[in-house]
Amino acid sequence: VRKAPLAVSGTWRRRIALALSAFVAVVAPASCGQGTGGRLVSIEWAVAGVAEEGHALGESVTDLGWQVRLSEAWLSIGTMRTHRPRELAASARWPGLSVSRARAHGGHAYGDDGPRAEWLEPVVLNALAVEPQVLGWVVAEAGAIDRVEVELQGARGLGPEALAGALLWVRGEAEREGTVVGFDGALSLTGTETVLPVENIAAEGTLEEGGRLTVGVRSGRWFDGLQFDLLEPPGDDEPAAIEPGTQPRNALYLGARNPRAFTATWTSAGELGEDE
């Protein structure tokens, strides 16, 4: 075997030391203080009824010209989620490092359309309540958002009895050109559907610690396209029922999943402090 004494000349010692020093000098500063990206914050989640511009809460005018006045408006929500901007996820060189998935295999599949924050508890909202309904705090990933998704599902044990098993329940009257129609109806899912997703609810803001995300409901938009004159009142001033298989029911179904029937508002912690 070759035996070699471990003796390095002074020149080489200097060269080696210089090389190591240069390496450390270049790399070490760059290696400190960087993380994997992403940050978790706590935000408050709330839901609220939202009035149409120029109208009182519960009053609106549909696209068919019906003036609607609601006496009851209840909505059952399953889950709510807010997402980062699509262009951010699509253009990211390494999109969603922190949102890796393992669907086909237990590796880290870097796909990123996951939500920044979500509310998973069932919520029943009185869309005519003046004060927002603050649900609580959730852990969220800090950063910009551009949309909210809401899943409506049948109410179970929450809200008024008339809402039981339904997505929403409304009561009120609609008037157009002197014709007044009272109505009372609940929207339920049929067939295999268990939830009604409402996607692409516009949102704008940057989630940060202590802020509040409020999902608003513009109940007046539920009635767009609904032909109230097709409702058949039973008489005796009883309101007309919204029956399955009718145009009013289908219009209400489409109205309920209309993203314009919802709003999403981000209020920073500072703004919340000023309000209070």
């Binding site: 471990l6 390496f23 390494w94 999109p95 924050a117």
Partner: protein
């Protein structure tokens, strides 16, 4: 002859009747010199110049020789065995028999057997007269226990045979009086020497054999910085973390067994999946690990590096080993390595199983391997056959929040039970492998041709569930199936030539393989019944890689190694799961697809010898990983993940006082310009942009005779996702990649001692392996807990019997061997589903204690002794 952990120290005697007077006047070196005896017939060609000085004659040089401990332990009485070995002009050992044994008593036969076993493992370069190889008969002298060897002078290192020192006369030769004696420095190619990179390791397993490593795959951890994890337990190949890469189960590391490729392209479980579980650990004689793509022989998947498991058995005879312990774990190995055969000749059978360290972790399997190797003469060949099957259950991964909430109903609600619990009991797998491979080698002078062919039938199936019911309320479980026939060949032709008085080499080689089979994945309901097809494809993949390399030393201290590699891939698939209707109308529910790709990869290494034993090695290379055929489109120019790797390091191999040492300090950087990852939802690979990985490592291996062998490493790695505007030298820009181990250390140590009990030598050995994985970066700037595990073993050996106690995870640490971060839903179907990613992990095994009993019986015909 004296043996060290890295090679041979001793003397070679060369005796030729044509050289009596001249050679007897030649003084010699002492240690590090072999005394070689060339008998008369070895010099037939020189009889014409008999009685003439022949200073141009060079004895055979030992190219490689395994360390041989005293069979009775280091404290046994010293002894000397002299073998007569016929060496042909190709350097092949033709015959060997015992000339003398300087010891009486019971140990005599043991020594003879040890010597005869050892000699067939010695690799020699032929004796030469000038540049002409000549046959020789060599007296090969082995000194067990150093019987009065003279003090060792410093050897000359590389270069031509030096003149012996005047003041040291030649030692007495047992040769007949008409034979000449002269001495020459025996140059031994340093075992494990770095060739293509400072992180090019050729590691003998034997010095650290006692450190608990129950499976061949665990030999990976001999390489610095390697971290293994496993999300499916026994029967499933480990996930390899290396140099900042999550190399999957083979996606970014090339795995071969004696050159036979193990990576499985387009495996449904993971592209490049590579499992060497069919190889019993006792058959792994050596591993060659290259970290980074620097050797032109490294092929597809060698992005982060490569490992080649080299099979062989040094201890000849019959070995019967039984192991039993915690969790009803058992393993039985029967191994027969015929005496006198080369190390590559063996037959081995292994059966193993366990109830597992938690619910749903049992496994059972068997392997049978046999190989015959004929390594004498200019033509050498071998034939390997292997068959293997196993089945296993798996606990998969669990959600961290479920463990903390102790909400998994399948286990008691204690913290420990929940830690080892599971969400889905319908996980596990099965695999089988049937392999036949033949190798033929031919050497003539300084030219060498090697060819290997292989045929393998491979079948595996994995059932796993990472997401619960996230995608479908019926269940997201996956049933991944892969069945292929792989046929291929690899070969090389190497020429060594002399120029400027130094050896240089050129080599050309190839690897070609064709994989044909089917890969598919189903979604499973909670009851294990498939309810959806994820993909289902027939695959035909042809890969042909060719390379040419040269190794030139224009200066005595400076060596340049350069090579070019070109890989061709042809993909042909038939999608059996195409829709039967589309917007246009009805269509056939199958669809064929072809794609083709070429990758060109130059590689360059320079090596400068600063002082004897100390080298500065710089390497740069391009590597690539082929695409998953499942994700390709018609006519696509198959894209590759390409890496550009750079490494520089100092390597010292030599002695530090009485300690033989191998010390290395390495800095490295790897740039991935376009990584690709399969997105199962999109059904194709998606580009993920550029990334950068860099770091440094310190590694040392020391040996103190047979008393101590130790190896330690410390590796620092950073991995970053590069932003689009990152400059060429902004290697640390962008966020860190999560889960990549930043600091990794590994220490292996074995201490041996022999005591005498009633005049019987009793061998004692203590061994330990310590792994430390520092805090890993996790998503959202979090850090994981560090992982420290210690494995230990204690063995006692007497004659043919060895009894050992092995403890894995000695301090019963609770650790996560693999962590993942993804959305899942393991709740009831009607429960609200969170789409936010959550932490998941696979629990590492707790303390496992195993008792091992091994009986090793040398067999075979008694050697000829004391022949006149």
């Amino acid at each position: 002859m004296r043996l060290g952990p890295r090679g041979i120290e001793g003397e070679v005697r060369v005796e030729r009747d044509a050289m009596i007077r001249t050679c007897r006047r030649m003084p010699g070196h002492a240690r590090a010199v072999f005394l070689t005896v060339a008998w008369a017939h070895a010099c037939v060609s020189s009889r014409a110049v008999a009685h003439e000085p022949d200073e141009d004659l060079h004895p055979p040089r030992v190219r490689h020789a395994a360390p041989v401990p005293h069979p009775a332990g280091p404290d046994a009485p010293p002894a000397r065995v002299v073998l007569e070995v016929s060496v042909d002009e190709q350097g092949r050992i033709q015959q060997a028999h015992v000339v003398s044994v300087e010891l009486d008593g019971e140990l005599r036969l043991v020594l003879v057997q040890a010597a005869l076993t050892h000699i067939w493992d010695v690799e020699l370069e032929p004796a030469r007269r000038g540049e002409q190889p000549v046959p020789a008969v060599v007296a090969y002298e082995m000194a067990f226990g150093d019987p009065g060897a003279p003090p060792a002078p410093e050897p000359s290192g590389e270069g031509p045979v030096p003149e012996p020192a005047e003041e040291q006369p030649p030692r007495a030769s047992p040769a007949t009086e008409h034979e000449a004696v002269f001495e020459a420095v025996a140059e031994v190619d340093a075992e494990g020497a770095a060739k293509w990179a400072a992180s090019d390791w050729t590691l003998r397993v034997e010095p650290l054999r006692e450190v608990p490593r129950r499976r061949a795959e665990q030999m990976w951890t001999l390489s610095p910085g390697v971290v293994l994890g496993n999300h499916s337990g026994e029967g499933h190949a480990p996930t390899v973390f290396l140099r900042g890469f999550n190399a999957g189960e083979g996606q970014d590391v090339e795995v071969t067994v004696d050159g036979i490729p193990m990576n499985e392209p387009s495996n449904a479980h993971g592209h490049g999946y590579a499992d060497v579980g069919f190889v019993p650990a006792e058959l792994v004689r050596e591993v060659r690990i290259v970290e980074g793509p620097f050797d032109p022989r490294q092929s597809d998947f060698a992005v982060a590096g490569s490992i080649d498991y080299r099979l062989g058995v040094d201890r000849r005879g019959v070995l019967a080993l039984g192991e039993y312990g915690s969790f009803q774990s058992y393993r039985a190995v029967t191994l027969w390595a015929p005496e006198g055969g080369s190390p590559g000749t063996f037959v081995a059978a292994e059966t193993r199983g366990s109830a597992g360290f938690g619910p749903n972790r049992s496994h059972r399997g068997f392997s049978v391997l046999g190989q015959y190797e004929r390594a004498r003469g200019p033509l050498e060949w071998s034939l390997l056959v292997a068959t293997h099957a196993l089945s296993f259950d798996s606990a998969g991964v669990v959600r961290e929040d479920a463990v903390q909430a102790r909400s998994m109903d399948a286990c008691p609600d204690t913290r420990d039970d929940q830690f080892f619990c599971l969400h889905d009991p319908n996980q596990g797998g099965a695999a089988s492998r049937h392999l036949v491979s033949g190798r033929i080698g031919w050497a003539e002078g300084r030219r060498r041709l090697d060819q290997r062919v292989f045929l393998m039938l491979r079948q595996n199936r994995f059932r796993e569930n990472f997401t619960g019911r996230l995608l479908n309320p019926m269940g997201d479980g996956l049933d991944q199936q892969y069945g292929t026939v792989m046929a291929g060949a690899r070969g090389s032709y190497r020429v060594t030539f002399d120029w400027l008085g130094r050896d240089h080499r050129v080599e050309a080689g190839y690897v070609a393989r064709h994989d044909a089979g089917r890969t598919r994945a189903w979604r499973l309901r909670d009851d294990g019944i498939p309810h959806d097809v994820v993909f289902d494809k027939d695959i035909r993949i042809t890969h042909a890689g060719v390379y040419a390399l040269g190794e030139v030393s224009p200066l005595e201290r400076y060596t340049v190694r350069a090579g070019l590699r070109v890989d061709h891939f042809a993909f042909s698939t038939v999608d059996r799961n195409a829709p039967e209707t589309d917007r246009t109308g009805d269509r056939v529910g199958e669809q064929a697809m072809d794609a083709f790709g070429v990758a060109v990869q130059p590689r360059l290494t320079t090596q400068l010898r600063l002082v004897p034993g100390l080298h500065f090695i710089k390497s740069i290379g391009l590597g690539s990983r082929s695409s998953d055929a499942v994700a390709l489109s018609e006519g696509e120019r198959a894209p590759f993940a390409r890496v550009r790797a750079f490494e520089a390091g100092l390597v010292y191999r030599g002695d530090l006082g009485p300690v033989a040492a191998d010390l290395r300090a390495v800095a490295f950087h790897t740039h991935v310009n376009r990584d690709l990852l399969f997105d199962p939802e999109r059904g194709r690979n998606v580009p993920l942009g550029a990334s950068s990985r860099y770091g440094a490592s310190l590694t040392g291996q020391v040996g103190l005779g047979r008393h101590l062998d130790a190896r330690a490493s410390l590796v620092w790695t950073e991995a970053h996702a590069l932003p689009e505007d990152a400059g060429r030298f902004a290697i640390a820009a962008g966020p860190r990649l999560p889960f990549v181990p930043r600091m990794v250390s590994r220490v292996d140590a074995v201490g041996r001692h022999t005591v005498r009990v009633r005049d019987e030598p009793v061998r004692l050995a203590l061994a330990g392996g310590l792994s430390w994985v520092g805090r890993r970066p996790l998503p959202f700037d979090a850090l994981s807990e560090p992982i420290v595990t210690v494995d230990a073993s204690a063995t006692v050996g007497w004659r043919w019997l060895t009894v050992g106690l092995m403890a894995l995870n000695l301090f019963d640490a609770r650790y996560r061997q693999l962590e993942l971060h993804h959305p899942s839903h393991f709740g009831e179907p009607g429960d609200p589903v969170s789409l936010r990613p959550a932490r998941h992990f696979a629990a590492g095994p707790p303390l496992t204690v195993l008792l091992t009993v091994a009986v090793h019986i040398p067999t075979g015909p008694a050697p000829r002794e004391e022949e006149p």
